[in-house]
Symmetry: C3
Subunit: 268 residues, 3 copies
């Protein structure tokens, strides 16, 4: 028998049909939310699941509370793993409310961030102002993710409004558009008060826009399962808790019961 | 432009109104519950969020199950970060039930603990015995936190009883008094079976005692939001899960949607 | 006074009645689920709670997604702590559905695993085929854990069927049999949709088989409490989240309120 190596382990166990596109990918993206990982935990996550993570968001305003050397090193590590690290949209909204949007972009750029999120989950941005912010970010050489949806309990954005904003954001240069699900995944956007998914709403959105540009925030396992089964294993998922990164990858590959038949495609 | 340094990052991004009193503080305290952090995770937490944490409680009886070298190093690290590490009240209650209260205090003191929690969430302490225990701890040079409230499901301590015990504990030398919320935050004290906050009860307590001496156990995010909105950003919060330390600090500073307008004070 | 050492800390604080059988134990086993711990977190867990953990399961198919050097080192570390590390049953089921069962056993064996789980939570194994798989694993020198129960929502295996499979698995060489509870602990086997425990069902099973060979999957704290109170502190518990390992040990020893009187045995 051949000597047992990493190659042997990988080739002997995985059906080629279960393999995934390698990074950088254009779909099947996973965005993890970091709402307070220590530096060691961050590194640990990347060493374990770095290949399965495309974006890491520093939740809400935590970027500003993270000690400078820790933040600097997180940026460095993310870069080494081909992961885009960016501050949560609420951080932008705080800067906007303080009328410091320009300073905000310059400081983040100096810090080393190359992606930024523009959202109005808490503040109200009129169309024109939203455009101006996205374009300003682009002028500062940022790649832009936007988010659509209000964070207020029970808030749901009508599909036509969402589609309108989606295409306007794309025109302004946004590369990905997040559908709001918060960190809780309850009573917001596509989720009811129990965290269940409104499948009609999801499908309506999906059919109206460039679906591979959408990132669905779905923090809870049953939500991840529902979105993946509805939209396929290459749906982009966001707000994945750090400890669930490997579980989500298992779901995408049919390596967990919930999607065993859907993506594993096993005939038994 | 100036060279980009830690100072630049901090001063450019934070509105002075969002700054917090530095440690040691007398209010706006955050107590984190450690129910089984490894040593690396503990150090990681302190390096990330040490400035935002005032107390760390070793949940229930876990102190006695923590390997000696790990515990010793946790004490050392907490000290370096100006954080008070102390064993959960149930550990005291076990010692009391074993009639080993004196040994308990001496051993903890020899171990290097300087704070201790006295509670009767599970046992029953009559007024006189409760006083004796607090005074004994003080005699052993401990600084004392007490807890008021039973851990039994559905248990609620009447406000007048709570106020009575509060002032007696203070007379006996307790510096902070915890209002029981358990690690679950459900169906106990200020929380209903869904984890909702009984605001009348909270306000009644708040108005009857020295409120800056109270620590409200509120493990769940909606509870933290409710207490902070009700009592202000300087309410003392307890039983915060380690991974939520940065999120709680974000809430205190209006850097998360839930308290964006309340504490950010942004006019939009 | 004697110099204060590790010995002093341990002997002064613990009532001998609270001590636990040391490893390797035949009952009172704790199986932790690792659904994506980084290597540092894994080591951290073992240094903290290694004495209290008997098995660690790499949840569902995550073993195949774990980078080779990380997996190799997890195996090494687990061995040093006398902990049995094994891949989740769904991983076996994937291999079976791919008709690669033999390759699966050989590869895991070459990798260094010495325990394996045989289950049919998602696939359907007829009695004879189940026997064949268990015996095949035994022939490859594996020690075997089996699992009984379907992962489908609301699924409950009748007690007589469960007992039948239990004794057949034992005949085929299985050393432990897991009662399915999934990672969620809701609406499956012994748990209702709220995660409550069906005590009659549990007791019925308990009385029909060799109970010390059963491992009860109970991911949530109230479930752990319910099973321990029902079956005693030496019940074998499974799917314990890594961060709950110390909490479960506290429950077993009456060091947490929920089992203070049950296992602490304190008369007050």
């Amino acid at each position: 028998m051949d000597p047992f190596t990493e190659k042997t382990w990988e080739t002997r166990l995985l059906d080629p049909s279960l393999e995934r596109e390698s990074k950088p990918r254009l779909s099947g993206l996973t965005m993890v939310i970091d709402k307070g990982l220590g530096l060691t935990a961050f590194k640990d996550l990347l060493d374990l699941a770095g290949d399965y993570i495309d974006f890491i968001k520093l939740g809400f305003g935590t970027a500003s509370l993270t000690p400078f050397p820790v933040l600097k090193e997180k940026l460095n590590l993310a870069g080494l793993h081909g992961i885009h690290l960016y501050p949560g949209g609420t951080f932008f909204e705080v800067a906007w409310a303080q009328q410091q949007t320009d300073d905000f972009f310059h400081t983040l750029s100096d810090m080393g961030f190359s992606w930024v999120e523009i959202s109005d989950g808490t503040i109200d941005l009129q169309d024109e102002e939203r455009s101006r912010c996205i374009r300003k970010a682009r002028d500062c050489s940022f790649r832009v993710i936007t988010e659509i949806g209000k964070k207020m309990k029970g808030s749901v954005t009508p599909v036509s409004d969402l589609a309108h904003t989606f295409f306007k954001d794309r025109d302004d240069g946004a590369e990905y558009i997040i559908v709001e699900g918060r960190e809780s995944g309850r009573n917001i956007g596509i989720f009811d008060s129990q965290g269940g998914v409104d499948t009609d709403y999801v499908l309506n959105i999906y059919e109206r826009v460039e679906s591979h540009r959408l990132i669905w925030e779905c923090p809870q396992n049953p939500q991840q399962v529902a979105i993946l089964k509805l939209l396929g294993s290459k749906a982009n998922l966001g707000n994945i808790p750090a400890q669930e990164a490997l579980s989500v990858e298992s779901l995408r590959r049919g390596l967990r019961s919930d999607t065993f038949f859907t993506f594993g495609g096993y005939s038994i």
